[in-house]
């Protein structure tokens, strides 16, 4: 790994990070427009076409707002919390594979030659993707907690405690529901998982090959229960409705970020949306074939592209490009579901939330795990 590659990778990571940040205002817009759509009203439509420039206006507002810090607060932590809030989402997104890798031909720069390189459309190819993501996102409890405490406000503290408790509780269900997926694909590697979902539905059952060519070979067909559990947990993890107890307006004003305003508030938003993105991306990867197109294999796509374009580097790049958009499309769909759900379902009570987490999701995920084990055994039994 030479310096240039490091440089390229750094640039790539920065780009991915920036992309994630840029998605946030977009999502805010979607959220507001979407909620208006669902509630049969207009939403922001004054600034720019379709109100798209509202995002910019908001950004300006955020930046220019007064820096308000409660007098009794712990200043260090008060500032630290929003910064930390960015971290989990940011780090987790690095491990998401958005598309197939493509090559970069060798080139000369400043008198020395570099390359050729293979570029992953992914922050870093981390060997144990899932573990890494879980590990990093488990840190998400801190900012909330710190923010709540540092604000020196009862509502904030309550919100922070609720949030962290919720995060920890649902992390269990989350982790357990994914175990099924891991067992199914026999790997922690996200790329391998995506690769395994290529093509049409085929599996073994008591040693018999069974093909169902009318369906794509997606995880959801193998893990329906796991999918539901995982999806629910993702909602809870990202503190969104119907699990937004930490910031339940009616009870806690705005929970842990009651005292936050302006840019710091924005950072919490970024963190939250980052979670949504990572969660949606994981759903796509685990259960919906990642960047793969249904009924179209990678080889098929390559040959299709090769019909119109040639070039050792160009074709993979284009394939990668197509896959990237397929992935983004799928991602967007799930992000929309997030928004949809938010405006459709009422909020749980806190005890209902906890009992749902511990008494429903966790047992079911364990049941799913056992079921998966049995099926895997059945599949290989001859």
């Amino acid at each position: 790994m030479d310096r240039m590659e490091i440089f390229i990778n750094t640039v790539k990571i920065v780009v991915i990070f920036l992309m994630m940040i840029q998605v946030v205002p977009l999502l805010v817009w979607v959220e507001r427009r979407g909620s208006a759509f669902i509630q049969h009203r207009f939403g922001p439509n004054r600034v720019g076409p379709l109100g798209l420039l509202q995002l910019l206006a908001d950004a300006v507002k955020f930046i220019n707002k007064e820096e308000f810090v409660p007098a009794a607060s712990n200043r260090v932590l008060f500032y630290l919390a929003p910064i930390l809030a960015l971290l989990p989402g940011m780090l987790a997104v690095l491990a998401i594979p958005f598309s197939t890798p493509f090559g970069i031909p060798s080139f000369e720069f400043m008198g020395s030659s570099y390359g050729p390189y293979t570029l992953q459309v992914q922050g870093a190819e981390i060997p144990l993707g899932i573990i890494y993501i879980f590990g990093v996102s488990s840190l998400a409890a801190y900012p909330v907690l710190l923010a709540g405490w540092a604000s020196s406000n009862k509502y904030s503290l309550m919100g922070g405690l609720r949030a962290s408790a919720q995060t920890i509780s649902y992390e269990l269900g989350l982790g357990m529901s994914v175990v099924g997926v891991m067992m199914l694909y026999g790997t922690f590697h996200l790329n391998d998982m995506i690769a395994a979902q290529e093509g049409l539905l085929a599996f073994r059952f008591f040693g018999n090959e069974i093909n169902l060519p009318f369906l794509p070979n997606w995880g959801i067909f193998f893990q329906p229960i796991g999918f539901i559990l995982f999806f629910v947990c993702i909602f809870a993890e990202s503190n969104r409705l119907p699990f937004d107890l930490p910031e339940a307006e009616a009870e806690l004003v705005a929970g842990f970020h009651t005292e936050y305003s302006g840019f710091k508030m924005l950072m919490f938003y970024i963190g939250e949306y980052g979670h949504m993105i990572v969660g949606s991306a994981l759903v796509v990867i685990f259960y919906f074939g990642g960047y793969h197109i249904p009924y179209v294999s990678e080889a098929g796509l390559t040959s299709f592209v090769s019909q119109y374009f040639t070039g050792e580097y160009l074709v993979p790049f284009l394939v990668s490009f197509i896959y990237l958009h397929v992935f983004i499309l799928k991602l967007a769909l799930f992000l929309w579901i997030f928004v949809w759900v938010r405006w459709s379902l009422p909020r749980f009570r806190y005890d209902q939330l906890m009992s749902l987490g511990w008494k429903t999701l966790l047992p079911w995920s364990i049941f799913n795990m056992i079921l998966t084990t049995v099926f895997i055994y059945a599949a290989n039994a001859a």
Binding site: I131, V136, L139, G148
Partner: protein, 174 residues
């Protein structure tokens, strides 16, 4: 070289935050420093190519245990302590001296026995997935008894912790 740099960086973070844990009089900073330290240790494991362990370290320690600590500290609303250290000049001197002495003894002993332990060259990079499979195989065969014992321990701990936390203050209850 990169390895060395990253090692020293991580090492610096770990030790600095560990010292902060011990020395900072405010428990909340201690807790946060510890979380940082844990994350640093996870990074160290990562650099040692123990990815799974690193992930678990993050999930268990940084993600769960330390959150609990922070929560408890916050619940009790512990402020900066006036006297963070226990009393007794003699015992303080003794404790400090002994800690330092023991560290220097271990370090000295390690340095002197450097050649015997071999260097990092012998690291064989392995297929990580396979190594995790081996790890789990080991866990469920050779160490299965310990594993089951651990399960029992955890159940007992759950019960015990709940009982303790729910207790009304025992015989000292006012």
């Amino acid at each position: 070289m990169t390895e060395a740099i990253s090692f020293y960086l991580i090492q610096f973070i770990i030790l600095a935050s560990a010292l902060a844990v011990v020395l900072v009089p405010n428990p909340i900073y201690s807790a946060i420093s510890l979380a940082v330290s844990m994350t640093g240790i996870a990074a160290l494991f990562f650099s040692l190519e123990a990815y799974f362990i690193a992930g678990v370290q993050l999930v268990v320690y940084a993600g769960a245990v330390m959150v609990l600590f922070v929560m408890v500290v916050m619940l009790f609303d512990l402020k900066k302590e006036k006297r963070a250290f226990s009393r007794g000049t003699l015992s303080r001197v003794l404790k400090t001296t002994l800690s330092v002495l023991i560290f220097s003894m271990i370090a000295g002993a390690l340095s002197m026995s450097f050649s015997e332990l071999g260097s990092g060259d012998s690291i064989a990079k392995e297929d990580i997935t396979r190594s995790i499979k081996e790890l789990s195989a080991l866990l469920y065969t050779k160490y299965v008894f310990a594993f089951e014992a651990l399960a029992i321990l955890l159940v007992m701990v759950i019960v015990g912790a709940i009982a303790l936390a729910k207790a009304k203050g025992g015989t000292h209850a006012k």
